[in-house]
Symmetry: C2
Subunit: 238 residues, 2 copies
């Protein structure tokens, strides 16, 4: 049974989700091939077999099904220990676990607030817009247009949140140290998502994070530079 | 030449600084003995030999002088590689570097805002109060009493910042994983500082961080449970 990753499909077949990009990069990092199956918000029946409604869902060789990007990374690391490590050991795994939570709970809420309109208006599949608007307006308790705020002050606050990343990058080229590890893929997913969804310039060109992002885009023969669409190099079943 | 740590001295000889506690715990973790020299804010001449004005300053055996708690941890790890590791390897070190920056840049500003008055009124040496007030009021641009805000809303926001720590502690008893590493000592320093400075209850008793703190206090034969004063067990030259 082939390895299959179910991932969020946006407009023009772009693969949007920051969480799915974590898994894409983790699979490449582990040098594991996979087929990518796109799933729109309105196509949750495609992943009903996983017992829940969120992508990414990985169906690994042999049929084992794992959902949640962290659980998938953990699964890949323990199932394929002979391949390049995602965590660099137990202490590295613990650090990545904290980082994963920090990106999800601290960084993403600030990021979403900047680009929510762009996600709705131009990034997701057109057919998904009513669902996206209704679910997000229920979550945020107001109209998308009111919640979204790409003002200079909010951009500055978002950039400020990333200060610990800059401190880490002062010492090493990657969050994993001398070479990229899963923590890098976590933050890469966020940056890639913003890039695919919005024209907003979230990093100044002299920001060390901007330089780091350039290094990440070049990884794995430029794998991350694609938009993931099936017509592009990253979207083809490998 | 004996190993000496210069650290901040508060009222009643309590050793207050969260950064100095990081180093205290790191020394114990490495099973290294040291003499502890107290330094009040008004006694910066005692560390003038380090070429700067902030504690902790470590003068290691052989006379090498290192300042800044992160640089000290790094020094201890590389100088004494045969002793228990503070980082658990290169990936663990990278994770700890991010965590160090996150505590300094994200957590501490929110924490200070809650207990600034308590620090001034009761924690630091009485003789240091005018300096402390003047330097902090210059930094914050307002009176200490106006900047400090231990309201329920600020406490809730502070607790919210710690959500990624809780996620990590769902999986493992320590931030380092199955056993404590330097990341644990970093956050311990913050919690210890609050405990020594303020009666404020920053963690609910059912908070997993509260339970973790209990484990940290018990480490190294209860070393962290002392206030560090020279009369107590932790303050005696070892």
């Amino acid at each position: 049974m082939a390895r299959v990753l179910y991932e969020l499909q946006g407009r023009a077949d772009r693969r949007l989700s920051p969480y799915c990009w974590r898994t894409r990069m983790a699979l490449r990092h582990k040098e594991l091939e996979a087929e990518f199956i796109p799933v729109q918000f309105g196509q949750k029946d495609r992943i009903a077999f996983s017992g829940q409604e969120l992508v990414p869902v990985l169906q690994d060789e042999g049929g084992r099904v794992i959902h949640d990007s962290w659980a998938i990374a953990d699964h890949l690391e323990s199932t394929y220990p002979e391949r390049p490590s995602l965590f660099g050991g137990e202490a590295g795994r613990a650090g990545a676990r904290f980082f994963n939570g920090w990106v999800d709970r601290a960084l993403h809420p600030a990021m979403i607030r900047l680009i929510l309109r762009d996600i709705h208006d131009g990034a997701i599949a057109e057919v998904d817009r009513p669902y996206f608007r209704a679910s997000r307006e229920a979550r945020f308790g107001m109209a998308l247009e009111d919640y979204c705020d790409p003002s200079a002050g909010r951009i500055k606050a978002f950039r400020g949140l990333l200060e610990p990343v800059r401190l880490a990058l002062e010492e090493a080229p990657y969050l994993g140290g001398a070479a990229p590890l899963y923590a890098d893929h976590i933050l890469f997913g966020t940056c890639k998502f913003v890039e695919l969804c919005s024209p907003l310039v979230i990093f100044a060109e002299d920001d060390p994070i901007y330089e780091w992002y350039g290094r990440m885009l070049a990884l794995f023969d430029g794998y991350g530079a694609s938009d993931g669409a099936a017509g592009g190099p990253a979207g083809e079943p490998e």
